[in-house]
């Protein structure tokens, strides 16, 4: 039981860190830095894919949300 709780805690922490990381990446400051570090072509290609992935991820989320009471 303890092991399971530990695992859950680690997962929650990882999720939290991931969420904060995503929030950080979305700031204009970070976008400007990444644009400089990666170069405009690489940055824009990655950004395009990330947006598409986000759109596709929203499908199952919308589908499940529609089922909620």
């Amino acid at each position: 039981m303890k092991k399971k709780a530990k695992k859950l805690l680690v997962l929650v922490c990882l999720g939290g860190v991931g969420y904060l990381f995503a929030k950080l990446i979305k700031t204009d400051f970070c976008k400007e830095r990444l644009f400089k570090i990666l170069g405009e072509d690489t940055y824009l290609a990655i950004e395009d894919k990330v947006y598409l992935l986000g759109d596709l991820l929203m499908w199952p989320i919308d589908f499940v949300r529609a089922l909620l009471p």
Binding site: D28, K31, E32, F35, K36, G39, E40, D41, Y43, L44, E47, D48, Y51, L52, D55, M58, W59, D62, F63, R65, A66, L68, P69
Partner: protein
């Protein structure tokens, strides 16, 4: 406000609902409140866009079409209770603007469903379709009145709806309307006996071979549409107004064949005589408003007119049909607001329906009200960002997945329907930025940078702004393009952006001595094909269109892309005789150019009897002739000139660097959308 616009700003009524003015924002796929292809939900991006339109002063907003049953997930639109709960407070906020909002509900696409290759594969295979059906049932999405050929995919036939399916759908129209009314929506519009969507496929005799109560006589063919309005009144109340999107004439010659403006042809769809009877039946059934234009998916350029179509192209037919009914009528299709105001003042029209202008300039009505109409950014009807369903011979819908998910974005105005991705954020570190090239990419970059607080300077090697777009906009029918160039010039002046004319830059690194950043927007140059004997004798589009130095009557185009077809059409209008030689299997076979635009050009070439040689090339160009090689033959063609239409290659200046950026065709050959969006992508990060 200029008095000529005043008739637009008078109220009118649809049923018992008063609309504050005569401007109707036509429904555009993607500008939805409940999502587009994805499972229905309250769509924040669509809601934000629609509220902005109401604040600008649109009298009646019609959000993008909502299919009554989700294409993805197959849930009925009335089943998501949470969605309607969120809608209520939104509508309270919306009504503070004074604008009214009708939701456009649709039965589906039927044979017009723009199937992509994977959708076509599912639809053609019963087993695969069955397996996928809990998520997407393509056969259902394509179902129609009868077994008819799909507009997009070859060898794909719609299955007919069963009577039970039709009646199930009718009930859900009523149930959805009831929930919408409870959430504060002002009315609904049924989509549609219009544009060849599935209700229209029931209505058109050549697309409906049924022998039950939904086929045969005109009354039977309109039964689906009439039962819908009756069910809505039964469930949502008799006083809940129901509008109908309606095509007066189909302007269709046959499957996948449209009729040109002014063409004498036998109507395959609904002709005017039948339309005169149909509108009375529909009015008697309970429809309170007709939102009209012409066309079908087979003649798509009537419903989504590109720049090649005349202004107000549907007005005459719409005004004619209005004489047969008592309910108000709106007209859509390249409507000029000044002309619309005249017609409304004269009592020949009740409202003007305008669609894509709302994407390109979010303040166009405010600008009219404030007498600043010369500041309105014009829509150029390119459909590159908002509606780029594309198709060529033998292909299905070639639209990119990202575009299918996001219709109604704008090539010229990136923040439209993606306001979180493209936005002006003031800079904390203003920089001096040199922009090399005064084409659209350079001008757009300068505007974005200036709005953010930077100090851009444009270096243009010629004595005027526009770059390659000066050639692209030179054709007689490209009035909107010319207006756009004028708008850019004026906008640069309004923002006080410095332009240095006749300043050719040879070394971008030199610029970095006096500027913090450099943007290279030097465009492209025509592609060379030296392997063709005499290729150096070809003439350029610039010589043909802008400089008009190509003389003679018979002009051969090597390549059948959009530029060649547009130029050939321009020559046809001037009474000349172009010939097109294309290596591929179709004209304008490009992804991202809307079928409404490409099918016009293809149909126009056929109508005007322009010789088109597909699967062919030119092997030799000489003085006064060229040799055309077709799959079966090679022959000498006498001509006055051969125009190089084989495309362009990027022409960037200098190397890339940490402070040197590239924008426009010098990165990769694209269209105005790729140029403008790239300008934003780069200039938002400087």
């Amino acid at each position: 406000m200029n008095p000529k616009y005043e008739p637009l700003f008078t109220p009118f009524k649809i049923g018992e609902v008063e609309i504050p003015n005569r401007i109707v924002q036509c429904s555009m796929g993607g500008t939805t409140l409940f999502g587009w292809l994805e499972p229905s939900h309250f769509d924040l991006e669509g809601a934000d866009f629609l509220l902005k339109r109401a604040k600008d002063g649109v009298g009646l907003v019609l959000p993008g079409m909502q299919v009554i049953r989700d294409t993805m997930g197959r849930k009925w639109l009335d089943s998501n209770r949470q969605m309607y709960r969120v809608l209520k407070p939104y509508m309270d906020e919306y009504h503070k603007t004074g604008s009214k909002l009708f939701i456009q509900l649709a039965g589906g696409f039927g044979r017009s469903m723009a199937v992509t290759p994977w959708m076509a594969a599912l639809a053609r295979n019963d087993l695969l379709n069955k397996i996928a059906s809990p998520i997407v049932d393509v056969q259902y999405a394509c179902a129609s009145a009868s077994a008819t050929p799909n507009r997009w995919a070859d060898n794909l036939t719609s299955r007919p709806f069963t009577v039970e399916e039709i009646q199930e759908m009718v009930w859900h129209f009523g149930a959805t309307a009831k929930k919408l009314r409870e959430a504060g929506i002002d009315g609904v519009e049924i989509h549609a006996v219009h544009e060849g969507y599935n209700l229209d496929q029931f209505a058109i005799a050549n697309m409906n071979f049924r022998t039950d109560q939904y086929g045969g006589s005109l009354e039977n063919r309109l039964r689906f549409a009439t039962e819908i309005v009756q069910e809505i009144h039964k469930q949502a109340g008799d006083d809940f107004p129901v509008s109908l999107r309606y095509s007066v004439r189909s302007c269709t010659k046959g499957w996948r064949k449209g009729a040109m403006p002014g063409e004498d042809f036998v109507e395959f769809g609904r002709d005017m005589a039948e339309s005169e009877k149909a509108v009375k039946i529909l009015q008697d059934a309970g429809y309170a408003f007709l939102n009209c234009d012409n066309g079908t998916y087979d003649a798509w350029y009537w419903a989504h007119p590109p720049q090649y179509m005349p202004d107000n192209c549907n007005l005459e037919d719409v005004e004619h049909i209005r004489q047969f009914i008592d309910i108000p009528v709106a007209c859509a299709g390249r409507m000029d607001p000044v002309k619309a105001a005249e017609e409304i003042a004269a009592g020949r029209l009740d409202a003007v329906a305008i669609a894509r202008q709302n994407l390109v300039d979010e303040h166009w009505i405010t600008k009219i009200k404030e007498g600043r109409e010369d500041e309105i950014r014009p829509c150029i009807r390119c459909h590159n960002g908002c509606f780029n369903f594309s198709k060529a011979a033998g292909t299905e819908n070639m639209q990119a997945l990202g575009d299918s998910l996001h219709l109604a974005r704008c090539a010229l105005n990136p923040p439209t329907m993606q306001h979180n991705r493209y936005k002006i954020v003031p800079t904390k570190n203003p920089k001096k930025v040199a922009i090399v090239g005064g084409g659209v990419g350079g001008m757009e970059s300068a505007l974005v940078l200036k709005k953010r607080g930077h100090n851009p300077v444009i270096f243009e090697k010629e004595d005027k702004l526009g770059g390659l777009f000066l050639t692209a906009s030179a054709m007689t029918f490209k009035e909107n393009d010319k207006q756009l160039l004028k708008w850019y010039e004026d906008e640069l002046k309004r923002y006080g952006i410095e332009v240095r004319f006749n300043s050719e830059i040879k070394d971008v690194n030199e610029l970095l001595k006096s500027f913090d950043e450099v943007i290279v927007a030097t465009g492209s140059v025509p592609r060379n094909m030296p392997q063709i004997k005499g290729f150096d004798k070809t003439r350029s589009f610039r010589e043909l269109l802008r400089e008009q130095s190509v003389k003679g009557d018979t002009i051969v185009f090597l390549g059948g892309g959009q530029s060649s077809c547009e130029a050939a059409y321009d020559l046809v209008l001037a009474g000349k005789h172009p010939i097109i030689v294309e290596y591929g299997n179709d004209l304008v076979a490009a992804q991202a150019t809307c079928l409404a635009n490409t099918s016009f050009l293809r149909d126009a070439m056929e109508y005007h009897k322009v010789p088109v040689y597909l699967h062919s090339t030119i092997t030799e160009i000489g003085d006064g002739y060229c040799v055309i090689k077709t799959p079966d033959d090679a022959f000498k063609q006498e001509c006055d000139a051969v125009v190089n239409g084989v495309g362009f290659v990027p022409a960037p200046l200098g190397d890339k660097g940490a402070h040197i950026h590239r924008v426009g065709d010098c990165v990769a050959i694209g269209n105005l959308r790729t140029v403008v969006w790239r300008a934003w992508d780069v200039c938002m990060r400087i």
